[in-house]
Point group: D2
Chain length 413, copies 4
């Protein structure tokens, strides 16, 4: 048994298949992938990695399995999935994901391939586990998968608390012990009504709500902070240029860690300027920062190729180089926790049916949604005007929007 | 200057009129009044007092005043009010308040009297402060009073964080530093539109929301936990008996601290049994636990005399002694923070207009509201049935309600 | 099973005999006995009680027992002892102990009596436990008693961390998880060499040292802070007067809780002035504050009667009332942890043999030792001079000593 | 003014010259240099960087300057030095320092050069500061330099607390607020007796001791943990190979950040195997782990060239490749805090004169000192025997030593 001292869960005990997986290159690589990517430019202490997060997810999964009385092979499978759930992440975590996977197929196919091959596959088979089944759990398939990847999963329980601890933000605090103690499996309430599903016990509507509220508080302050978004967009742009300008493939990019990637964009002439800007925190600024309802549907629905075309059009219109314009259209707001199941008065219900907070938080999310167009500081005016034209945005609203987002004294460094 | 080490704010520096007030009997008495009254029966560590809370409120007020650039006599007045804002509390904080003040007049008249007299009055006058003005700030009157007693006051900022720290509950965390830095005074937006008011600066809708959410999370888990409510109701009953059975007056009761009160009800034969139950945690149990909409208006609107009559009627109907029935009808849900002012796009708005969470949390509060009827364990069945009849509650709903509130394994000890 | 949320250990699960003991009056009474007595006058947040400390000690004992593989009746006995180890404490914890037990015999006889009688005795016998054996463990007798009451016991592990948390002092932090994981029982190394004893595993010299260092840091800042000592001496004086002036017996005094005691000294005319001073923090001041080596042996060795005689002599010499002089001679410094056993290189050794810190900390303790003579502020000069004469202290050293202890800005409020 | 949210000090306000320095490449580079280098292999959460540490040191310096009443140019100079004190660090902080500076001259010459040139020099001159003077403060020269680089400096105050927070170890806790409040400057007590020096005010012997104790507790558990030492030695070896095998100069190596360096040793064939071992945590193991007194003087006193010769000799003797042996001889134990000045009884004294802990901790440090010889797992036996011969170590002692250091279950992953 290995014991690790963790900032969030104190001592984490690791044994069995999880201990064997710990020393595989695929898991050790996560030491060099920051959990929050570019958020570190806003919160300088946020340097924690996918590695300790994976240990934390494993720890919570194990505690939940103890509570549920699940043992043996079934437990091993879930513990392995918990430990491995992030090995598919490329450098800078989710930041470059859309890019690397857009070009090479599905994320989960890739995870399945990763788990079947190399030392990880060998360790799993040594412990009588089928890599494909473990990959299935990571993808959320099967009865117990919800524990690792569902609406009430230990993944988000760990990251909320860990991200709060390492940013210093007081908002992500949830009662993880209570969650892992109050989870239960109920037969016949899963999808289709005939499978078992993970449910929070009686008296825990508020426990479930606390998860939503924690995310709602963390989102604007941490996860979607505009400085984090701008720098992420710049790295995504650099990655795209790297793929174009060099022999690097998307598959290779996906296996890089943060060091590899930063070194690669420093070395490549086509990305050197973006790399310098990132390293020295000389970031693009917002030329446009538009609310959800002010953005036309054709922009909301644009696919990647369309986005690139729009960027080029804006650049041409503004009379700046094409690389001086980045268009950043976030995905539609979603709230996976809304379908979490809670027991109320002996009956299993969806959280969204039970809690009025769910729909309110949906509105909040939409209110906080912003489309961004970023450009070098000196070009924001021109690019802003051009983008308003190209994207059919109301220029008045825009100006207001930019002003609305004017630096407060906090969080803006 | 005096420096005090505090669990929540680390070092608190106290000088001027606040330092002089610190050693008055009225302030020192708060050392013996628990901040959370009977919540300590649910969270054993929750033994913090009104005294350290008052220091915390003073500390935050001072930091906010620094940020607002308010100095001199005006600042002294507010700092004194912060330090004194709780001296009017009787034993067990709010728990007995309805009782002691119901019989003797207004709370704020009493505070004004307290501040004008004795050592406190002398200290205030020594520092050229008018006790009546300071009492006015405690009561929320005047331009800057909102800082101590308003929608965004430092009182609730301190208690949320302090109550979380001392219960061990992870929910009350707010960013107090951010609050005191982002408060500003804006002219012409106060009540009536022509007075100045306290407003949160641009970019802080979410800061304001975090205060509401913190309270929403703390409410059911801490402030209105049924064990805390039952024991509070038992102490209130004991206080009423004490006033009836002995020469103790309401005014004397109000000046007791927790020790005096517990000793008094131990000594008085009429309250000895309730006192024993409290001391040994042998509490009444819920005979009824009814939702807001299941309670008829005449019960919602009952005054104190009516409530007493209803209790007697239930006892008679159930065939138990009158003291075996306690009816506990909480006040209507309210949300003072909803009228807090925030700056959005250069315009000062009420939070309730800006944030969809306000109305959702109103629904949540109403969902969490419960009328309770409590009785000794052995009598809950009879009392429950009798109460359903007397109060016109649906007996089916009731049973369900009681079951709904069945002990989970947590928080129930 | 009962689960309690604790500030220090998060969720504490209580079952078996411990859960049954939880609701006995003897254990519930600890809710009203502050863990740190008068330290609350220095650290306003230090209001935690012997009750939550007892839960914490039980929790750590249980974790250690799990680690040691001890189960069944033996485990029950130790868990009961952990839960009950403080029921013998009178009001204000150790503060009045010397007084109450000086007059009535041995502390441990009293504990044995307490455990055998009333509900506690009934619960123990219900669970097939012999109250006398449990009392033995509390007194440190028997093979496994060291876990609850020894050199490396869970009692001090809990109080160091808890006292640090509730004072806000950053010094008491030890790694309790590491302790309970690294404890082991080794045969043939106990007292006399032939019994088993509790030993820290290989690689834990520093773990043991951390316990000593934590205590060394907490001592002057918390446990022996002069304001805590003065107020404790005043309460002790009040208790003595109460026993003399009223029909209250030492046995009754011992069973009071903090509320009873404060109420009793408020009510008794002979103690009303001391009570007022305590309530309003209008404390005596130091007239003498002398170092260990400056105090003659006859004073170090004085028994209680001699101390009282010295007090009277000082008062007469100074021309003040007898009650205006309190002599406070602390016990000889001791360091129980010094005999803790650690494994070094496969061999079990006493910590004092292994660690150079033990003897250094002995010197530190002696350096920090102070004899105090306290008097009302206006009488400190006269009393100081008189005491120097009566106790044969060098008046020059004295003056220096008092100056040395001049208030720093911190901790002195 | 810029405000940054920090995990340790909450909000840090940065203005003046410090704010201007924040955005220079030299300071931003520190984002990519881990504070604790390879300690992250023991404590997975220890990913904090020199960047946030520099902000913390600046923050504490500023608070101390406020307390000391130092303003204007003098304050600017010290604040700049605080912000810049670590810009000279190469990749992996101190880990490679001995190597990079051994070859290129003095660390402080290099810092002076760095501060005079580029954007940093420009910013300093813009604010009327002489880069050479600022570099002097970093080097500990001048009256007030002790604040940033002395026996009681804010550098160690920040790193102890920060390293504790980010490892999860409970030992580094000191009361930084108390330190910055209790520091004072006293004339005529500095070196030579005629210059002013930084002194802790009366009543703070224990405050100073707490700094030593915190370091004494952190040292074996964090700073000199054998896994951290082994991996650090492996990186040092890789750096040496890189300098030999490629055109990279020591000056270039010094300016790399962690990413550059890891990428460089991955790319270079001569270091690829060491890099793989580091990345996958497939580390060398201890072949020898010898106590201070068992090591002959000629080894203690060996210069770098001699060490290399010894390594080659051991490898030859053991019949293994030269790269399979790493000799790691730590510097002589030292304790800079021992000369810290404290005020005792109105007199300024050296801490070592006042506190018996200083000499005890010197013994502890020496007891904890270990010479290491590391080798691949399969070669430890052969290398251990060979090293014992070459270094004149007692083989019996050795075996014991290795056993003594056998993995405990904790901290060893």
């Amino acid at each position: 048994m290995t014991t690790v001292k963790d900032t969030v869960h104190d001592h984490i005990e690791i044994d069995g298949v999880a201990a064997a997986l710990l020393d595989t290159p695929a898991v050790q690589r996560l030491r060099h992938v920051k959990q929050l990517g570019t958020v570190q430019l806003v919160y300088p202490s946020a340097n924690h990695t996918r590695f300790e997060h994976s240990l934390g997810v494993y720890h919570l999964a194990r505690r939940a399995l103890d509570g549920l009385g699940i043992e043996g092979r079934q437990a091993d499978r879930i513990e392995a999935a918990a430990m491995l759930h992030d090995v598919g992440h490329g450098p800078f975590s989710h930041n470059l994901e859309s890019l690397t996977y857009r070009r090479t197929g599905k994320y989960h196919d890739d995870v399945a391939e990763l788990l079947a091959g190399g030392e990880v596959g060998a360790v799993l088979r040594d412990h009588d586990l089928d890599p494909e089944e473990v990959a299935g759990i990571v993808a959320g398939e099967g009865t117990y998968a919800g524990l690792v990847s569902g609406e009430l999963d230990v993944d988000r329980m760990d990251y909320l608390v860990r991200d709060a601890y390492h940013t210093g933000v007081p908002y992500g605090t949830i009662d993880t012990e209570r969650f892992v103690r109050e989870l239960t499996f109920v037969e016949g309430v899963g999808s289709g009504g005939d499978s078992p599903a993970l449910v929070l016990d009686e008296g825990n509507v508020q426990t479930a709500e606390s998860l939503l509220l924690a995310r709602a508080l963390m989102n604007p302050v941490v996860y979607t902070h505009h400085v984090a978004r701008i720098s992420k967009a710049m790295l995504r742009r650099a990655a795209a240029e790297l793929l174009e300008a060099t022999a690097t493939t998307a598959a290779e990019l996906r296996r890089m860690d943060d060091h590899d990637f930063l070194a690669a964009i420093r070395d490549c002439p086509a990305t050197a300027e973006l790399s310098r800007r990132y390293d020295e925190r000389d970031l693009y600024k917002r030329a446009v920062w538009a609310e959800y309802d002010d953005v036309p549907d054709r922009v909301h629905d644009a696919d990647h190729a369309t986005e690139l075309a729009l960027e080029r059009e804006i650049a041409a219109e503004a009379g700046v180089a094409r690389e001086d314009v980045i268009l950043d259209v976030p995905a539609e707001p979603s709230m996976r926790e809304s379908t979490a199941r809670v027991t109320v008065n002996g009956e299993v219900r969806r959280l969204e049916r039970q809690s009025p907070l769910v729909s309110a938080l949906r509105v909040v999310q939409r209110n906080q949604w912003r489309l961004g167009v970023y450009a070098p500081d000196s070009a924001t005016d021109r690019v802003g005007r051009a983008a308003a034209g190209v994207l059919d945005l109301d220029p008045d609203a825009l100006v207001i929007e930019v002003r609305k987002a004017m630096p407060t004294t906090l969080d803006e460094f």
